[in-house]
């Protein structure tokens, strides 16, 4: 009840006295400010803070809507910032899609040995964040067991149990390929005898679910068929990660950890330029290479030549020859995403 008296006193001279509300506000402000200060001192410093982002860069438009001049300005800003950050001459290319090119990819799962060099080559080429805290790998190789056929007590596992359906296989320990792939397999030598391997990366769909759900249209299909992301426009809502049926997209949860000596200085605006925290990234078919006519990092490194990339509009390209002569399939074709990444066996 003393509060009431206080209030009534206030009525008479509201200008002079400090009301409880004011006190609370000040106290709150003090503690907030001191907590903030403490937080800044105590919170872990990101590996490479993009503190040189200028206002101009922050307010730049979506890449597709920029005029040529604006694009040039944006790229100059980036070149300056990256070169400073990484201590080497970084180039940021803005090569547009080549005319008459639609990229297709073919992967020979008969040949893949699961060595994961494609994964690591991609990382070496594309400047992903690495290290213990935040490791981003655009390619994921799954190991699929060929299945065990000689397990004991296999033959009597009915489905449902105890209704006379106990023979002829086992619904709970099925023979044949184990469908659930392993992501963290470790082996001394590959290929292992009882497994085969399925690498997956962005399928560069023709009807990409990620493009459809992006609320700001930062991810889109470029004329050469590559689904690209304007990293400066992404708001980090992660709808695209939810929508992708191939789990192809990755998020920079924190500021990327990219050591300067490992950085690949030949970058492309839509491709492998160093990203910042809070944006999504994924395989871009190495736009920095493919738009200059060169093969991607994964195609080049594969020691068994299982990976092929080519122009789907050129009947003489590898990929077209594969589509013409081999049996190909695509993953989750039932979802009508029309991936341009084909798997074949040879």
């Amino acid at each position: 009840m003393s509060k009431l008296n206080n209030k009534q006193n206030n009525k008479n001279s509201p200008a002079e006295e400090v009301t409880r509300r004011d006190f609370l506000r000040k106290a709150g402000a003090y503690s907030a400010a001191s907590l903030t200060g403490a937080a800044m001192l105590l919170s872990p410093k990101p590996a490479r803070a993009t503190k040189n982002v200028t206002w101009a860069e922050h307010f730049q438009k979506n890449y597709r809507l920029m005029t040529d001049e604006e694009k040039k300005e944006a790229i100059d800003r980036l070149v300056k910032r990256y070169s400073e950050e990484f201590g080497k001459t970084v180039t940021v290319d803005d090569a547009p899609a080549m005319d008459g090119v639609l990229f297709g990819y073919a992967l020979n799962i008969q040949k893949c040995i699961g060595c994961r060099r494609c994964v690591k080559a991609c990382v070496a080429e594309n400047n992903q964040s690495r290290g213990d805290k935040q490791q981003i790998e655009w390619i994921r190789v799954m190991r699929l067991e060929k299945g065990k056929f000689s397990e004991k007590d296999r033959d009597d596992g009915g489905y449902p149990q105890d209704f006379g359906i106990q023979v002829g296989g086992n619904a709970y320990k099925p023979a044949g390929v184990v469908l659930e792939g392993q992501h963290y397999y470790e082996a001394d030598k590959v290929p292992e005898k009882d497994a085969f391997y399925l690498p997956m990366q962005c399928m560069q769909c023709e009807k990409p679910p990620c493009v459809k759900v992006c609320p700001v249209r930062t991810t889109y299909r470029d004329p050469d068929g590559i689904v690209v992301i304007d990293y400066n426009w992404c708001i980090g809502c992660r709808m695209c990660i939810g929508a992708c049926p191939y789990w192809a997209r990755r998020f920079n949860w924190g500021e990327p950890d990219l050591p300067a000596e490992e950085m690949n200085p030949k970058t492309h605006y839509l491709g492998n330029r160093p990203r910042m925290k809070g944006v999504v990234e994924k395989c871009t078919f190495c736009v920095q290479r493919t738009r200059k006519g060169r093969w991607t990092g994964c195609v080049e490194v594969c020691p068994v030549g299982a990976r092929k990339l080519g122009n789907l509009l050129d009947p003489e390209s590898d990929v077209r020859k594969i589509l013409a002569t081999k049996k190909v399939f695509r993953l989750r074709a039932d979802l009508n995403t029309y991936p341009k990444f084909f798997y074949f066996m040879d």
């Binding site: 009525k11 609370l24 459809k212 609320p215 789990w247 944006v279």
Partner: protein
């Protein structure tokens, strides 16, 4: 009492400030999220609060469409709840975004608004519209009461009727946000909007019942028992349908038990030693089923001493079921079959707790003001004597 409550909330709001700062400075790596489980605590709370916001309509709907006289008077309190809930939703969304500093990218003209393709843009539209409707409707009514002028029925009722339909849309669109992704088989079914609406209409009125009971206890405002009976009936009907839908989902998924059922099986039984969510599922089921059975008994339902506790059980049960029971297992396993477990980090708890505190803070302030105005304690004539901030306190004092 009031100040104690506000101070209590202020503490959590400060924690929210700290948590948001840490998250903005370091990125979302301070959360427990990862590429495998990329949607987590923030979005779970968001989805739940959109439901609660939509439920404000349950107060409005019977009052105006069925001309339930008793509810007329307290409709505006429901609108205040809707405003507080939508504010919470917006805060959860900004906490979930990786780059809230780039929020301007989503506005039309200055940014790109990918409507009608992106479902998220529909959600932005309906949520903003709903907030606007409630602010306009609620404050218009309060302003008229405050100045003692008559309410323009045509204008006000149009706003109310639009809000009724709009409220359904906000939660339907949120459901569409998740059920239009075939990459996530646990969500990809047409039952999702119905499940969302029914769980929302069970949780929302439960909260409204508790809030109204508090208003009855702490202010002179009179709310007839009739209002509570209507609301508790809505709760039990919607809870019943929601449980029926859950049963339907369980049977449909577990009977053939395909790869698409992995999420639900992980939730209910765990997977190869990973069973962090199992206790949550069964607790939620126990709370929901238990409350449902109790609420079926008219004597229990009409007992206003027992009712708040059952409503709390319903609220908590649905919160768990929608958050830990739907949003998290929906992304586990990943579309390519990888299982990863997720525990929110301390920062996430701080931010989520803080947003709830902000919600309750806003709700308290709004309800206090609304009750003051409705009771006639706060009137235009006395404005000269008091400053604007002192009104609500005086409304309690006198």
């Amino acid at each position: 009492m009031f100040w104690g409550w506000m101070l209590f909330l202020a503490f959590f709001i400060m924690l929210w400030g700290y948590g948001e700062y840490v998250q903005l400075a370091n990125g979302m790596i301070v959360t427990g999220l990862n590429d495998q489980v990329s949607w987590g605590f923030y979005l779970a709370n968001f989805v739940f609060m959109v439901g609660v916001a939509a439920a404000a309509v349950t107060v409005v709907f019977p009052a105006y469409v069925y001309k339930h006289q008793e509810l007329h008077k307290i409709v505006v309190l429901g609108e205040m709840l809707a405003i507080a809930a939508v504010v919470m939703c917006l805060l959860f969304v900004t906490a979930h975004m990786g780059r809230p500093d780039r929020l301007w990218h989503i506005f039309p003209v200055i940014g790109i608004f990918n409507w009608p393709n992106a479902m998220l843009t529909w959600d932005v539209l309906v949520l903003t519209g709903y907030l606007a409707l409630n602010i306009i409707g609620g404050f218009y009514y309060l302003y008229k009461k405050y100045t003692g002028k008559p309410v323009n029925k045509l204008f006000y009722l149009s706003v109310v009727y639009i809000a009724i339909v709009w409220a359904l849309s906000i939660h339907t669109v949120t459901a569409f946000l998740i059920n239009t992704m075939p990459a996530r088989p646990m969500w990809f079914h047409s039952m999702m909007p119905i499940k969302f609406i029914t769980t929302a209409f069970a949780a929302g009125p439960s909260l409204i019942i508790i809030v109204f009971l508090l208003v009855r206890k702490f202010t002179p405002m009179k709310i007839a028992d009739e209002a509570f009976h209507i609301l508790s009936q809505i709760v039990v009907w919607c809870l019943g349908i929601a449980l029926f839908l859950t049963l339907s989902e369980i049977v449909t998924e577990l009977y053939p038990s395909t790869e698409h059922s992995m999420g639900l099986k992980y939730l209910m039984f765990g997977h190869h030693g990973l069973n962090a969510l199992v206790p949550f599922f069964w607790t939620a089921m126990a709370l929901m089923i238990g409350s449902f059975i109790l609420l079926l008994i008219p004597r229990v339902r009409k007992n206003l001493l027992l009712l708040p506790f059952i409503c709390l059980a319903v609220f908590v049960g649905i919160y768990i079921e929608k958050g830990m029971g739907l949003m998290i297992p929906g992304v586990i396993p990943t579309p390519i079959g990888e299982f990863a477990e997720y525990t929110p980090s301390n920062i996430e708890f701080m931010i989520v707790g803080g947003v709830w505190a902000i919600g309750f803070f806003v709700l308290t302030v709004l309800i206090k003001g609304a009750v003051g105005i409705m009771l006639g304690d706060v009137r235009y004539e006395e404005k000269a004597r008091r400053n604007v901030q002192g009104e609500q306190a005086d409304a309690v004092a006198t």
